[in-house]
Amino acid sequence: MEQTSGAVATGQYQLSQLAAIEAQSIHIIREVAAEFERPVLLFSGGKDSVIMLRLAQKAFFPAKIPFPVMHVDTGHNFPEVIDFRDRMVADMDASLIVASVQESIDAGRSVEEAGLDPSRNRLQTRTLLDALTEGKYDAVFGGARRDEEKARAKERVYSFRDEFGQWDPKNQRPELWSLYNGRHRPGEHIRVFPISDWTELDVWQYIGNEGLELPSIYYSHTREVFRRDGMLLATGPFVNPRGDEEVFEAVVRYRTVGDMTCTGAVESSAVTVDEIILEVAASRLTERGATRADDKVSEAAMEDRKKEGYF
C-alpha cells in the first residue's frame, strides 16, 4: 500500500486512525469551501491552528487555500508566537487579517477588565464578532477539539451562530453521518471545527509525522516564572508578580498557546516531538486544566464564553 496522507494504512484497504481523521477533516474543509460564500480560518499560531492550516493546504493542493486567515490579536501574545504566525502565513502565501483587541478597546467597543494583570481572553469575543461582521464571513474555521473541555465535547462540527454570534447548546442542529447542514440566513454564520475528533495525542503525533514547525515555546526552555493560582506564569510586560509571588527560573514548556496573562507553563524537559508525545501520553492532567486560568473562572466558564460567541 502506498503511503497516503501522512499516515500509513494499517492493512489492506484500512486506514490508520490518523489517516481516517485526516481524511474526515479534509472532507469538512472542502465542504465549507464549496458551500459558503466567505469562509475564514482562525489562526492563533497554536498547535491546533497549525494543523488546521496544513489540512487546508492539503485539501486544495495544488491550488492555494481559497480563503483568508484571521488572527484575533489580544496584544498580550507571546512574541515568539506572533513571529511564527507572520512567517507561516508568508510561507504559504496566504492572506492574513489581524483583528486587534487593542483597537476594540481604543474604539470604545470593549473595556479592559479591572484588577491585576487583566486578561483579555473574554474581550476577544467582541473583536472577533466585529471582524466577522465587517468581513461578512459566513463560515469561520476554528481548531477547537472535543477532548479539550466538557462544553466543547457537546459541540457540533458545523456549529450554528445566530445574528449575535451566540451559541445555543440546548438547541443544536442534529448532525448525522457526514452530511453537514450549513444553511443559514444573512447575518447568521457557522463555526466549523474540522478537527473535532482529534485528541491532544493525535495532534502531537500528526505534528511529528508531518514534521510541522511550531512556535518555540511549545518546547522546553528556561524562563522566569512565578506561581499564581496553582499555575506557572511567565513574567513579561503584561504580567507583574505581586510582592508575595516569588520569581524563579524554571525549565518549562507550554501545552497551549493563549494570552501571557492566562496561559501557564508546565515544567518539562521535552525538546522534541517524540519527548512531548511521551509526556502527553503519561500526563494525568488535561491540557487546559493544567494551563488555562480562563477555564477556571467557574464550572461552566467555557460554556458561558461560547454562548457569547467565543471560539
Binding site: T4, Q17, E22, W177
Partner: protein, 416 residues
C-alpha cells in the same frame, strides 16, 4: 492503529455512565483535573458517591438537572485502537439523539440491567441500531454482581433479546455479562464468572473485525469541489476533489460521470504527498480524468458497469427531528452526498412505533422523534444506493425551508 466509533445510549440508573467512566478511567483517558472537578461538584451537591455522569454531561443544564440532553463525544485509546464514543440519552424523547449517535457508529453498545431484563428501552436501542445499520451490536448485561453472577440470569436475558432481535436486521451480536461498578469483564475477564468464556468488553472493542464493514465493491465518488489552481505551473490542471464513498479507484480505470453519462478514464489520483496507486473509502483525494468534460459539484463518478440508481422518486425510512410535524405535501431542503435539492412528501406509508415495531398505516404525519416510511419526489435526480448497501450514498438529511434547521434523517430504500 485503527479507529472504532461506538454509540451508547442509556438513562441515569442503568449504569451506562459508570461503565463509560470505567473504560475511560482504566484506559487513563480521564485526567486528574477532570476527576477533581467532578468530585468537587458531587460534594457540593451532597451526592453520596462521585457521579461519573458529570464527566460526560458537559452542559450546565445537564449537570443541574442530572440528565443527559445531547450527544457527547468522548475519546480514549488503547495500544490497539482509538475509540470515539457517541454517548446519548436513552429516553424515547431523545430518539433523534440516538439516531444521530448511531449514524456514524461502527458498533452500538446496549445496556441491560440484569435485574430488570429486556425492557422497552433495550428494544428501542436495538431497533435504532438496526435501522441505522450499525454493523456490530454489543449487549452488556450489567449489574451481574446484584444477581450473584448467576449464569441462568444471563442466559435467560440473552434468549429473550435474541428472540426480539430476530425481527430486526442485525448481523453481528455479542453478549457480555458485566458489572460496571465492580469492574467485572469490563477491562479484564472476571474471576466471578468462570462460566463466561467470551472476551471482556474492552477486548471485544479492541478486536471486533471492522475492515469489511465499508463498501469496497461499488465505486462511488461524489464530486465535492473542483480544483483549478490558476497558476502558471498548473495552467491546465483540473482536479475533482472529494471523498471516496464506496469501492476502489485506480489510475487507468474506465469511469462514468453522472448525470451526463459520459465515460473517460482516471488519469491520476492526487494527494498533497503525491499521486497514489489506488484510493478507497473513506479517503479524501483529488481525481484527474483523461478527457476534458464538464463536471461540477454534485456530480457522481462511478464505473460504467456498476452505476448507482438514478432517480427523483425516493422511498426512505425517515426519523423526524423537529417540533413542527411533517405532513404529506410539505417541502424540505434535502442534502444527499454533495448535492442539495428540494423535496416534497408524496406519501407517508406508515409510522413505526420504535418500541413495539407496530406499523401505523393510518398515520398522516411524522412528529418529533417519529420514524416512518415516506415516498418523496425531488427536484433533480439523485445518484444513490440503498442505505443497506452503502451508508454514505444511501443517506440524506432534510432541512426546514424556513428556519434551515436539520429536521430529518433519511435512509433510502432500494431494489436491494
Amino acid at each position: 492503529m485503527e479507529l472504532l466509533r461506538f454509540a451508547t445510549a442509556g438513562s441515569v440508573d442503568d449504569g451506562k455512565s459508570t461503565l463509560i467512566g470505567r473504560l475511560l478511567y482504566d484506559s487513563k483517558a480521564i485526567f486528574e483535573d477532570q476527576l477533581e472537578a467532578v468530585e468537587r461538584v458531587s460534594t457540593q451537591r451532597g451526592d453520596e458517591y462521585t457521579d461519573l455522569a458529570l464527566l460526560t454531561d458537559g452542559l450546565r443544564a445537564e449537570r443541574e438537572q442530572g440528565i443527559t440532553i445531547d450527544v457527547a463525544y468522548r475519546y480514549f485509546a488503547t495500544p490497539a485502537r482509538k475509540f470515539i464514543i457517541a454517548d446519548t440519552p436513552g429516553h424515547v424523547q431523545y430518539t433523534r439523539n440516538m439516531v444521530t449517535g448511531n449514524s456514524t457508529a461502527d458498533l452500538t453498545m446496549v445496556l441491560v440491567d440484569a435485574r430488570k431484563g429486556v425492557v422497552e428501552q433495550t428494544r428501542r436501542h436495538a431497533f435504532l441500531a438496526s435501522l441505522l445499520r450499525v454493523p456490530h451490536l454489543v449487549v452488556c448485561i450489567n449489574k451481574m454482581d446484584l444477581v450473584d453472577y448467576d449464569q441462568a440470569v444471563f442466559e435467560s436475558i440473552r434468549a429473550e433479546f435474541t428472540a426480539f432481535a430476530s425481527r430486526l436486521d442485525i448481523s453481528d451480536m455479542t453478549f457480555i455479562p458485566v458489572s460496571a461498578l465492580q469492574g467485572d469483564n469490563v477491562v479484564t475477564r472476571s474471576a466471578n464468572m468462570g462460566w463466561y468464556e467470551g472476551a471482556s468488553l474492552l477486548h471485544h472493542l479492541e478486536s471486533v473485525f471492522i475492515a469489511s464493514d465499508r463498501n469496497l465493491i461499488d465505486s462511488r465518488f461524489p464530486v465535492q469541489y473542483v480544483i483549478r489552481p490558476k497558476a502558471n505551473e498548473y495552467h491546465d490542471y483540473r482536479g475533482y476533489a472529494g471523498r471516496i464513498d464506496g469501492g476502489v479507484f485506480r489510475p487507468g480505470d474506465e469511469v462514468m460521470v453522472l448525470p451526463s453519462g459520459l465515460t473517460t478514464t482516471v488519469e491520476a489520483i492526487d494527494t498533497f504527498e503525491g499521486p497514489i496507486d489506488e484510493a478507497y473509502a473513506p479517503m479524501s483525494v483529488t481525481m484527474r480524468l483523461a478527457d476534458n468534460i464538464d463536471i461540477s459539484r454534485g456530480d457522481m463518478i462511478c464505473r460504467p458497469n456498476n452505476q448507482p440508481t438514478v432517480g427523483q422518486d425516493l422511498d426512505a425510512m425517515v426519523c423526524w427531528m423537529t417540533e413542527k410535524p411533517l405532513k404529506v405535501g410539505d417541502f424540505c431542503h434535502l442534502k444527499h452526498t454533495t448535492r442539495w435539492v428540494r423535496a416534497v412528501v408524496r406519501e407517508i406509508n406508515y409510522r413505526l412505533d420504535v418500541n413495539t415495531l407496530h406499523r401505523d398505516e393510518a398515520a398522516t404525519e411524522l412528529g418529533l422523534n417519529d420514524v416512518g416510511r415516506l415516498s418523496l419526489r425531488v427536484t433533480q435526480p439523485l445518484f444513490y444506493d440503498s442505505y443497506r448497501r452503502n451508508r454514505l450514498t444511501g443517506s440524506f438529511i432534510l432541512a426546514d425551508e424556513g428556519s434551515n434547521v436539520t429536521a430529518g434523517a433519511g435512509m433510502l430504500l432500494g431494489p436491494d
